[in-house]
């Protein structure tokens, strides 16, 4: 190969890199870089810099910017370089501008012209460089300026140019689909390009186009299938082979496209069955790329119209992935399982133990993927186990982003599948306690609504039981330090509403707790507001019950403090509280009825109850009211102020600013939208006050109404949870779920397939699966009841899959054991005895599998020897840990000869070196020596060089 990996740069640049490499701290590095920037600033503006120097300065600038420092002073010089005639300088200029500038930068205007010119250049490399810049620097407005040239380049004789022109056009499409919509047919045309590379490139834009509009490309199904067939049959030039796979990247893209085209289309899918089936057979599962293609096949199979045979092959591949030692393959296996499970839900069963292993794996990525799978397969039967696991994991992590996600998943699953209210509340408590600040406020409102409305059945005692258990648990939780604000709001509301309802706790106890909350979280106004309103409710209930109310001293002081609060909201609440306490029982009953948060409140918008008062006033000579819309000069703003008529007329003067239209609009909308969506923000008290407050009614009553109303959700028809939820089944399940399922499992399995059980019994000690794991497996997967069919179909399949089936028994029967464990009838030793005779007969089933795995290894090594790729793996695994401590001078690779460590020694090493080195040993040696000489590599020990990264 002609190109050399030499050091094109000057000593200065080397020194820069070296000193940065040796910098002990970020501050030192910054100092060095700032110095460099000063130097460059000075040098770059000198007149008549030789081009070569200029090129180096620009590269240094790029380097400096990569380290995070501002190099904007040099942008203009980079732009100037693009105008240069020399290809080298021009390309450097283009490289720098694509890295420095974005498409909206002011300097772009200076480049567009050059790009236009360069796109027409005779030198195809200039064209390529310009196309590269086009992708990065052309925005929606400048597309038309270069579009004709780019389209013209689609017919360029050089395939490299055609390829890039397609990509550029694709980029335009991504940036502004409308600007190139008339050119989309070009992509179809280029699909038939003679060069496979160009064809492969065309698949990228086609994939995007098909994603958006499947139907207009259905005619291409046959073409794609035939291309894929040809690729799989190795009709492409050898150059496209990668690790003995024919053009795997093209195969993957094609499979992705086919998955889109075949989705929900039986006819189109039928065209694909043969070729996908072939791929399953042909793919080399020992190489990474082969598995990539296999994985893509699974994705395709799970997306197109289902075909039993393909699904079976897919399941085979998945089990191979899951059994693999490679975490990457396990990850792909879990992902693939998640896809296939939608089509054939029973496939997960045979992999349950593998899934649980993944769940307990230390690798976070794998763990999260597994949670995703579990989320997809949650049912009402396994929701408790899954959500518990999720919450445990949620508590254990610090990553807020993922915590939020998993918390919302927990909430979603709990709402959808909760077996009982009790469980739901406990789960929500846990979620709130540990991720309260991360969950959506709607979730809290939902929880309050659930507690208020109960289960929706006509069972009042169950509802009140639910409430008192909620109250009890909240009083307990209040003892914990630092609870999230959202959770405290829920707690305050529930305590206010139901704290004294069952008579277990005295009003003074609850109010004391509420005052503690308000004091402990004195920075949180929302919590305080909730606490004050809760206090008001408690006292109101006490007054209504004709009990003597004595205000706790801390409550009194809290009230006094809030009466002078800067927050008008808190102040108002405090005044309301003060007023309520002073009222008599009858009045309080009217304004604060007990447990009425679910009652509808009729809003008399016409304020008809004021008619008498109005008439009286008019008789006394008051001005009749003129609606704002009829007043002159008020037309344009009046429509959203209708709400304020009465206030305006009675006061004559308005002091407050006009409200935004939002709250009033909202007050209208909820009843309509509530029916469809169950998550609705609680209406803000402001609008209620607005429509309610009238001169004759005391402010106390209206505000009491409004604060009461705060948690009211008018027109709520729906209970919590999604429509799929069926309360009847889950209530029955909730208590006896596990045992019931377990028993049915045992019966089902033993009656249909007793052999299976023997097999398992004998194998169990060998496999050594921990009982907890089995239990977990049983509770996760136990819910599905389609087990009986599996073995039958499995036995019918070909030899290749028999071991699979045998394997599949293991997890299934483990469920039996697990269920047996819950009701300990047969102790494990018995099982062992029973199983002993069958061990020998079973052995053949086990062994081939082991053998197969054993066989896989040598082949891997064999192919590795050819492809050398695993060498790298081995090499970097073998790299001594010391290499990590070294500075960046460390060589990534080079000479693997161990004797090199004595490098400083001299000639002897050179000889050894030459013997062991590949084609050009002298060069690498010199390079090495140079590195040392320059001291870039500070350690005296020779860098661990590994030879032939790839040969």
């Amino acid at each position: 190969m002609g190109s050399q990996g030499g050091f094109y740069q000057s000593k200065e640049f080397l020194d820069l890199v070296k000193s940065i490499g040796e910098a002990r701290s970020k501050a030192e590095e910054d100092r060095i870089v700032l110095n460099e920037i000063e130097t460059l600033k000075r040098r770059i503006s000198e007149p008549d810099i030789p081009k070569r120097k200029m090129k180096e300065y620009i590269i240094r600038l790029v380097y400096v910017e990569m380290l995070g420092h501002d190099a904007s002073f040099g942008y203009i010089h980079a732009v100037k370089m693009t105008h240069d005639d020399s290809l080298l300088v021009k390309r450097t200029g283009y490289l720098a501008v694509t890295l420095f500038l974005n498409e909206d930068h002011d300097l772009i205007i200076l480049i567009v012209n050059t790009i236009q010119k360069d796109l027409k250049s005779d030198n195809y490399l200039v064209v390529c460089a310009a196309l590269n810049a086009v992708c990065k620097l052309i925005n929606e407005e400048t597309i038309p300026a270069v579009l004709p040239q780019v389209v013209e380049l689609l017919g360029h004789p050089k395939e490299a140019v055609r390829k890039k022109a397609i990509m550029a056009l694709h980029r335009f499409y991504q940036k502004s689909p409308s600007s190139v919509s008339h050119l989309v047919s070009n992509f179809r045309k280029r699909l038939c390009d003679n060069d496979p590379g160009v064809m492969g490139a065309t698949l990228c834009p086609l994939f995007d186009l098909i994603t958006i509009d499947v139907n207009s490309y259905k005619d291409l199904v046959v073409s794609f299938v035939s291309i894929l067939k040809q690729v799989a049959e190795r009709r492409l030039p050898k150059a496209y082979d990668y690790h003995q796979m024919p053009a795997p990247f093209i195969q993957i893209k094609l499979l992705k496209i086919l998955a889109l085209l075949g989705s929900g289309d039986k006819q189109a899918s039928e065209n694909m069955y043969t070729v996908v089936g072939d791929l399953f057979r042909k793919c080399d599962s020992s190489s990474n790329i082969g598995n990539a293609v296999l994985y893509e096949c699974i994705c395709c199979v799970s997306s197109i119209y289902p075909n039993a045979k393909l699904l079976e092959s897919a399941a085979d591949v998945i089990s191979r992935f899951l059994k693999s030692d490679s975490h990457n393959l396990k990850y792909m296996g879990i992902d693939a399982l998640g896809r296939l499970i939608k089509i054939s839900p029973d496939i997960a069963e045979q992999h349950q133990l593998a899934v649980i292993d993944c769940l307990e794996d230390p690798d976070d990525t794998l763990k999260r993927k597994t949670f995703e799978l579990l989320y997809k397969m949650t049912k009402s039967t396994n929701v408790e186990v899954i959500v518990d696991r999720m919450i445990d994991y949620m508590i254990s992590i610090n990553d807020n982003h993922y915590k939020t996600e998993i918390a919302s998943r927990c909430v979603e699953l709990a709402e959808q599948f909760a077996p009982s209210n009790q469980w739901f509340i406990q789960t929500m408590n846990k979620v709130f306690e540990h991720a309260g600040d991360l969950v959506n406020i709607k979730v809290a409102h939902n929880l309050m609504r659930l507690i208020a409305e109960g289960f929706g059945e006509d069972d009042d005692s169950a509802d009140s039981q639910l409430r008192s258990s909620a109250v009890e648990s909240y009083l307990r939780i209040l003892g914990e330090p630092k609870l999230p604000s959202v959770f405290l709001q829920v707690i305050c509301w529930v305590l206010g509403e139901y704290g004294t309802a069952d008579g277990k706790f005295s009003a003074s106890y609850i109010t004391g707790k509420l005052c503690d909350v308000a004091e402990a979280y004195s920075n949180d106004e929302t919590v305080k507001a909730y606490a004050v309103t809760a206090l008001m409710k408690i006292y109101a209930f006490e007054i209504a019950a004709r009990r003597k109310v004595d205000l706790l001293p801390e409550c009194q002081s809290l009230m006094e403090e809030l009466l002078a609060s800067h927050s008008t909201d808190l102040q108002q609440r405090a005044y309301e509280l003060q007023a309520v306490i002073g009222l008599d029982a009858h009045a309080v009953e009217c304004i604060m009825p007990s447990d009425a948060s679910c009652e509808d409140i009729e809003v008399d918008k016409g304020l008809s109850f004021l008619n008498g008062y109005v008439e009286e006033s008019i008789e006394k000579g008051a001005q009749p009211y003129i609606p704002e819309s009829e007043r002159s000069g008020m037309l344009n703003i009046s429509n959203f102020r209708n709400q304020d008529h009465h206030e305006a007329s009675s006061h004559g003067l308005r002091f407050e600013a006009y409200e935004l239209p939002k709250p009033t609009v909202q007050s209208r909308i909820p009843p309509a939208s509530l029916a469809s969506t169950e998550l609705v923000p609680v209406p803000e008290p402001t609008y209620l006050r607005e429509s309610y407050q009238t001169p004759s009614v005391t402010s106390v009553s209206s505000d009491a109404g409004s604060s009461e109303l705060k948690l009211r959700l008018d027109g709520v028809q729906k209970k919590w949870g999604k429509p799929t939820y069926a309360p009847a089944t889950s209530t029955s399940n909730s208590t006896a779920q596990k045992t019931v399922n377990g028993v049915t499992q045992v019966e089902g399995a033993s009656s249909t397939n007793s052999r299976t059980r023997e097999t398992y019994d004998s194998r169990k000690p060998q496999v050594e699966i921990s009982p907890e794991k089995q239990k977990l497996a049983a509770s996760l997967f136990g819910g599905s009841s389609k087990t009986e069919k599996r073995p039958a179909t499995g036995h019918k399949t070909s030899k290749a899959s028999t071991h699979m089936v045998e394997k599949s028994h293991v997890p299934k029967s483990s469920m039996e054991v697990a269920s047996e464990k819950t009701a300990p009838v047969q102790p494990p030793p018995d099982l062992l005895d029973l199983g002993e005779p069958t061990v020998t007969s079973i052995a053949p089933f086990v062994d081939p599998f082991k053998q197969l795995e054993g066989l896989l290894d040598p082949t891997q090594v064999g192919s590795a020897a050819a492809t050398k790729s695993p060498d790298i793996m081995a090499l970097y695994v073998d790299t001594p840990a010391g290499i990590h401590n070294k500075d960046d001078g460390d060589l990534l690779s080079g000479l693997s000869n161990p004797s090199v460590t004595n490098m400083p020694g001299g000639t002897t090493t050179t000889q050894q070196e030459q013997r062991s080195k590949g084609p050009n040993p002298k060069d690498s040696l010199e390079k090495d020596a140079l590195v040392r000489q320059m001291g870039v590599n500070p350690s005296s020990q020779n860098p661990n060089l590994f030879r032939d990264l790839l040969g």
């Binding site: 050091f7 094109y8 380097y63 550029a168 690790h243 992705k256 792909m332 960046d888 460390d890 990534l892």
Partner: protein, 166 residues
Amino acid sequence: MIKAVMVMNTQGKPRLAKFYEYLPVEKQQELIRSVFAVLCSRAENVSNFIEAESIFGPDSRLVYKHFATLYFVFVFDSSENELAVLDLIQVFVETLDKCFKNVCELDIVFNYSKMHTILDEIIFGGQVLETSSTEVMKAVEEISKLEAASNAITLIPKSASGWRSR
């Protein structure tokens, strides 16, 4: 589409950073830092994939490969296949190796522009352009040749030895 390609060493120093959607320099630095923070917390013998949504926003995955002192990191969205991207990294490294003859971290530092040339031949505007390292090599060599030819001033030494002998 591929969103970003990063090469950094085991100390977190960026060696190459290319973002296919424009990001301001500070943001780039922040991303590089947070990627490095995640990478160095990963144990050996775990998968090469990382959920990157918390760093790069929704629909983003990250695949990395660790070679001696360097991490090669590709960030992409759901239109790519993780295992295939792992092999794409392999293609990239293979090509670098062919180009620099036993590539080492120094080669990458000092041949910054060449790295970019190679990468531009493999990934173009965020899409995978070419996956055969021989093809990429051909293209890169041709570029070097023509660059040299077009460049009247060939004062730059060709190799390490050349530089030293000066």
